[in-house]
Amino acid sequence: MIAFPWITLLTTVPIVGALVLLVLGGRNKNLARWSALAFSFVALVLTLILWRHFDPASGSLQFQERHAWISPLGVEYRVGIDGLGLLMLLLSSIVVPIGMVASWQIEERVPLYYSLILILQACLFGTFTALNFFHWFIFWELSLIPAFFLIRLWGGPRRASASTQFLIYTMVGSITLLLAFIAIFLATKKFDFIDLAALAQNGQLMPAVIGKLAWHRFTPQHVALVLFAGAFLGFAVKVPIFPFHTWLPSAYCEAPTGTTILLTGAMSKMGVYGFLRILLPIFGAQMQLVLTPLLWMAVATIVLSAYAALAQKDLKRIFAYSSINHLGYCLLGIFAVVKFTGGDTALIAEKYAAMNGVFLQMFNHALTASTLFWFVAMLEKRSGGLRGLDDFGGLRKVAPVFTGLMGIALFSTLGLPGLNGFIGEFLIFKGSFPLATWATSFSVLGLLATAIFILGILQRVFSGPLNERWAGLPDLTAGERLALAPAIILMFVLGLYPQAVLGAINNTVMQAVQHLQF
């Protein structure tokens, strides 16, 4: 049966949208905004159709399309999704419209802005569905370009250096990743993630690489580690992991807030996705060798970024560091799962829990962080660009609905039970604690700091005496409330009924964990 190419269609929709906007984008700004939003809704609907037809009972790849492309180089057009891919598609389709709505106040070159966002969305879809290294790498690299220009052309005062730093950091990571995969290709003649993962699982991958690549005076072990390091750097920069994170705060801060939503909500997930789809299956053995430093890097990412957030005065910077912190939990969970536990089944339940937590955390972080930055965008719109922690005060009195809804999002970040942030972090901690006790215990310090800075925001911005300057600050309009409602409702739904997501991913998680044999 030749199945309908759903995934190709999904990737094409935003590209078509971008072209339409570029060609027809005249002077009518509102038309550009609404048509961009329409295209992103079409993509959302398509994703929902995929979800509807997705068979959660099978943990393997579905909706596959496979065509020959450049056969001598082992390049194929191969796409498909499992639970992980589906989750990623869902979160991209949710985050992109949020980013678009949050960018409504952009007035300069509107059609270009929205077409760049649509291109970025196409790159996200491509990255999350491609199963061949090259096909995947095209989208991975191409996503930098719209992101760069979104920051460069519409960003804040220090956009020039922020965007360049962002580009150079990610580019260096990409090149080391590329070099590592070229080496693997030379040895195995394969670029296919699934084939490579199968080879790695049989324990044939690294012997093949070592046999084919006689690298001067390097021991086999070292060759494998060098390749792992190359691939690791590519993803570590993207997530980011301490100490490769320094590009992030300025990039997030200088980007227009709508773009920040895309960066944190969707693009940072590309890094985590890379860990799950590529590093874990292909380089699992190498990860295990250097597990201790990796774990401590994750702990450093969690704890240091939380404390860094404490020291910030700018709301966007606070949330930028908080994003690093939240993705740190994902890494902690991933690294804990790699831990060697002896027998086949020992602690397997903990591994399932941690891995499920990682998946959920990615989705939740996308939702929560996007919503929080959205609130920042709305606050900026009202304050004329101000977003300092000390610029406000007592907003609760003039804008009670704003305060209430943003409070929900803040508590969700904090991980309050009943809201979506809780369940992911809980599962990660539950799973990781028996596997990596010390690292997990130290990470709790991060939770503490998060609580302090979240409460700090609530106190200094929303309660206390009203800052007279903002006496006329308008509350959320009906339109804004309506737009926010789905996001807030989703927070509660996922908090109370995480099964909605877990059901789709559970079998993928089990397969992924079972495949990790060393």
Partner: protein, 503 residues
């Protein structure tokens, strides 16, 4: 039929000179039609001739007593480069639509140059090849010296002296080979089949290789390239960087390496860790990649950035040749095509779209003009060309550099890391130039807004689209070219090389 690419270009040049005085418009159209005809012929043959093997076109005796024949032939490698020549010819004429000063002579010289380039790529007889190779130099000189800009006499003279020095080395090597083989034939096939002694090959290979590599911009003999490119008018710099530099690389592969394959073998001893000419040239190529990139990173003149980037990219071609494996060699040929297209595009943006409007190439001055708003089409074109040039996937440069890189991984793993660094530098200099020229903050407001720049014309738009289209087409489906390049590399002509360390 392919031979008509040469004749039609020469006829076009002659026709231009016969046009009445002052008929500039007709001259442009005639030149454009000539270029299109040449490209159409190549394309027809390319579509029909899918195998990529050597195809004899014309073979008649010329100087029978010396064994010299008028022998034209084409294989997949020549076809690829002929296509490149055709595309660059068409687009560079489109980009010189604005030349008013002695336009007829300009276009006639230009077509003469194109015809000679076609001749080099089609010659199977080495004497014939050398004749065309020398003809190329003459119109180059006049195009730069008469229509050029900054220090044009100096640039033109330097270019000619370097070219002649290189040609002299090639000539000595070829005559030596001809004599050593018994002075019976100058056909490439015959000479490549002749078993020259190891000692002879060891001596002749570097001579001929370096002679050609001068034109390919091999470090440290590259210095003519940036000055020449900068001094040349836009169409000439497109052709110089796009096609003429490829003549050198083509000569290295087609002549030096096929005639003297043993010259690439090990010396039997090591000097500073280098054990063969192959190692030496590979090292020089890597130095060229890094040096060209780093120098491009600090230029103040927009056109010099592109000039040095050419040196860096040509290093990839030479390095690919020295890998001596299938992937590296096909990558090198693909890079010849890719760099030809992209260098042409970059020079078109800098020379025609920007310099012809602003009359400055100083990055600091350009930055104050807020060019991304004044001429957005130029900004977008440069961004796309820059992305392609830095080797982003989806463009031709990616596959070319990737294949070279894969080949280098196999042959010289240490160099692969250096090349990886070179790619990062490539990203940096393109990005720096782009930021400074198009996206600098006008900020201070002290710069007095000059008269509005004239808008981008239709010929410029068409030219840019054609070049971008070619790069994207090859980027998405490199098989188009690889299907003819790879059989060509497996043909009997390269048998000597394959016996060496072919993988």
């Amino acid at each position: 039929m392919l031979a008509w690419t040469i004749y039609i270009s020469f006829l076009g040049a002659a026709g231009l000179l016969l046009l009445p005085r002052g008929s500039v418009g007709a001259a442009r159209v005639l030149a454009l039609l000539t270029a299109i005809a040449g490209f159409a012929i190549t394309l027809t043959v390319f579509v029909q001739h899918r195998t990529g093997e050597m195809l004899t076109i014309t073979r008649v005796p010329w100087l029978p007593s010396l064994g010299i024949e008028y022998h034209l032939a084409a294989d997949g490698i020549s076809l690829t480069l002929l296509l490149l020549t055709g595309i660059i010819a068409i687009t560079s004429i489109l980009f010189s639509w604005d030349i008013e000063d002695r336009a007829k002579e300009f276009l006639a010289l230009f077509l003469l140059l194109i015809g000679a380039v076609y001749g080099v790529f089609l010659s199977y007889d080495l004497f014939l090849l050398f004749v065309f190779y020398e003809i190329v130099i003459i119109p180059k000189y006049f195009l730069i010296a008469i229509w050029g800009s900054t220090r044009r006499e100096y640039g033109a003279m330097k270019l000619v002296l370097y070219s002649f020095a290189g040609s002299a080395m090639v000539l000595i090597g070829l005559i030596a080979a001809y004599v050593a083989a018994g002075a019976r034939s100058t056909s490439l096939g015959d000479l490549a089949g002749f078993p020259f002694s190891l000692h002879f090959q060891m001596a002749a290979f570097p001579l001929v290789f370096v002679g050609f590599a001068v034109l390919a911009g091999m470090w440290p003999l590259h210095t003519w390239a940036p000055t020449g490119h900068v001094a040349a008018p836009t169409a000439a710099s497109m052709l110089l960087a796009g096609v003429v530099m490829k003549l050198g690389a083509y000569g290295c592969l087609r002549v030096a390496m096929t005639l003297f394959p043993l010259g690439l073998g090990p010396w039997g001893f090591h000097v500073l860790g280098l054990g063969s000419w192959r190692d030496v040239f590979a090292l020089l190529a890597v130095i060229g990649i890094l040096y060209g990139g780093l120098v491009a990173l600090v230029q103040k003149d927009f056109k010099f950035v592109i000039g040095y980037s050419s040196v860096s990219h040509m290093g990839f071609i030479l390095l690919g040749l020295m890998t001596l494996n299938q992937l590296g060699l096909s990558g090198a040929v693909l890079q010849m095509f890719s760099h030809g297209i992209l260098a042409g595009l970059l020079f078109a943006v800098v020379g025609r779209m920007v310099y012809a409007r602003t009359h400055t190439r100083d990055l600091a001055v350009l930055g104050a003009m807020d060019l991304n708003k004044a001429i957005p089409f130029a900004a977008v074109t440069f961004v796309i060309a820059g992305m392609a040039s830095m080797g982003l996937p989806g463009f031709s440069g990616f596959w070319a550099e990737l294949m070279v890189l894969v080949g280098v991984w196999r042959a010289y793993p240490t160099f692969a890391v250096c090349v990886g660094f070179g790619i990062v530098v490539g990203v940096a200099y393109i990005w720096r130039a782009m930021q400074k020229a198009f996206f600098a903050e006008a900020g201070t407001g002290s710069a007095t807004p000059g008269p509005p720049l004239p808008p981008i014309t239709i010929p410029e738009r068409v030219g840019a689209m054609v070049l971008i289209g070619a790069s994207v087409l090859v980027g998405l489906y490199p098989q188009i070219l690889l299907n003819v390049i790879q059989p060509a590399l497996n043909s009997p002509l390269f048998e000597g090389l394959r016996k060496g360390s072919w993988q």
